[in-house]
């Protein structure tokens, strides 16, 4: 028996073995009665951004597959429903029509393709993002970047520091610049690109100002890639753009997938830094436990991403008439997969699903999606944030906590996070 789990950068971090094997959620299609979708007229879509969780609880209880006229979509809020969608990409396609994502970044990235096309784009980046490459090539870089921005946070001082603006935001940007290999790009520039692409992806109302900013950032990023692609063909390294440049993919696909990673690889890690400190500040006993036993950082990361999922909802489209959890869904219908709600489903996580508990029995959650589109950067995020950025912040400031004297600010539901988190220390 060669037990070699110790080589994994993330092992030793799991909560001690929970007894039972992981049960599988209920089958997707109920054999029994099929009903018309309930309509959630009551749902205040504009109000979700302030705090969506009470509305999610009501949706799960009353109509876990509901038609929401204001969104022109079905919202699926149960764990079983969301998980079932991810297991069947032939019925639930990621190639949604009228995709603002394709418009925003100028071509169709892997996240808007189904297999087998999706796999052609995805395969070259997987080796860059598996645990070994993350540990050997990138963890030292993530650690150096964390120290740099902890210095900046320290300079601000405990009366003025904002964990989002002074640490999480520039750190997430610098980590992404390095991992992608965006040589010479600066932290504010890549934050602006990411912001503009995401705004474009959400521009369902076709606001021309949003398109103008998005197109300008796309042009900037494309100009940089026009230099980087030939450079990395001559000088390959461990970065993501290097892997894409040497994959044989056409330049347009290299560029689209790089811009996808710029859009999806910045805000979520940034939000996870602040979410973890926010959650631990509100749960002092758990904070003490993790500071006393660093092996618990993995559980702290995992529980935070479940409890406050940075990506709350992502889209799919039905390719044929189907039945999901007993509800008829017609071909062509748009579907919102509300993973932030699935991640609090009591029928999957038990009666304490709404609570933050790093000691809960381990269960798969959907904060990184599931199936072939499972987040490509999930090992990178676990390492950069869960093992490095947040533990190092507590190493530097043992008494780091939310500063109750100054206001914090949460927002969003499709993407949700803190835009400001004042912190202090002794």
């Amino acid at each position: 028996m060669s037990s070699s789990t110790a080589k994994c950068p993330y092992s030793g971090t799991q909560a001690a073995g929970t007894a039972a094997a992981v049960p599988v959620p209920q089958p997707l299609r109920s054999p029994g009665g099929v009903s018309e979708a309930p309509v959630a007229h009551w749902l205040d879509v504009e109000g979700l951004a302030a705090d969506p969780y009470a509305a999610y609880a009501r949706l799960r209880a009353e109509s876990p597959v509901a038609w929401v006229p204001k969104l022109n979509k079905f919202l699926v809020t149960s764990y079983g429903g969301c998980h079932g969608i991810e297991q069947d990409q032939e019925t639930f396609s990621a190639n949604v029509s009228g995709s603002t994502m394709n418009r925003a970044i100028g071509a169709q990235p892997m996240l808007r393709k189904d297999d087998p096309e999706h796999a052609i784009d995805r395969a070259p980046i997987n080796p860059v993002l598996r645990p070994k490459s993350i540990k050997e090539a990138w963890a030292p870089v993530f650690a150096r970047n964390a120290e740099t921005y902890l210095d900046a946070l320290e300079d601000k001082g405990p009366g003025h520091a904002d964990l989002n603006t002074d640490y999480a935001a520039p750190l997430a940007s610098k980590n992404l610049i390095d991992l992608l290999g965006l040589l010479d790009a600066d932290v504010d520039q890549v934050r602006r690109w990411s912001h503009d692409f995401i705004a474009g992806m959400g521009n369902v109302l076709d606001d021309p100002g949003i398109w103008a900013r998005c197109d300008a950032s796309t042009a900037d990023a494309d100009a940089l890639l026009a230099e980087l692609i030939p450079f990395y063909r001559k000088n390959p390294d461990a970065s993501l753009v290097s892997a894409l440049a040497n994959s044989g993919l056409p330049v347009e696909d290299v560029a689209a997938n790089t811009k996808l990673a710029i859009s999806g690889g910045l805000n979520e890690p940034q939000h996870m830094v602040t979410n973890m400190v926010w959650a631990l500040s509100r749960h002092p006993a758990q904070r003490e436990a993790v500071l006393a036993d660093p092996a618990l950082w993995a559980a702290a990361f995992d529980e935070t991403v479940r409890w406050q999922s940075p990506i709350g909802m992502y889209p799919r489209q039905a390719t044929r008439d189907t039945v999901l959890e007993g509800v008829a869904i017609p071909a062509g219908a748009g579907i919102g997969v509300v993973v932030a709600s699935a991640n609090r489903d009591q029928s999957w996580f038990g009666p304490g699903a709404e609570d933050f508990d790093i000691h809960r029995p381990k269960r798969p959650h959907l904060a990184f999606g599931a199936g072939v589109h499972l987040c490509a950067g999930h090992w990178a995020a676990k390492s950069a944030i869960g093992q490095i950025a947040v533990p190092k912040a507590y190493e530097r400031f043992g008494s780091l906590r939310v500063d109750e004297q100054r206001a914090e600010s949460w927002g969003g539901w499709v993407f949700r996070g803190l835009s400001s988190l004042p912190v202090t220390w002794n």
Partner: protein, 107 residues
Amino acid sequence: MPTITFTQPDGSEQVLQVADGTTLMRAAVSNGVDGIVGECGGQAMCATCHVYVRPEYARSLPEITEDEDEMLDCTTAARTDASRLGCQVAVGPTLGAIVVDVPADQV
């Protein structure tokens, strides 16, 4: 049709008959076998499809690739000489039957 037998930690067994070319992970996930998650859909990116293959079938298995080897270091239950990723082993003409043990922990 090839058969796959999944044995749970409590000793209970599930025998599945599946088409040639089906991976152990896909067979388990589509048939509701407890304890196989298959989070990444079979890309050797998650290690939540870990199984222990009974030694008598070891010789009929495909070689472990570098990617699989790396991911096997990240299984939640301890890796042993019998460990494989269920998504990297398919049944078919050279592997007509297989018996695997499902680990107690997958995440």
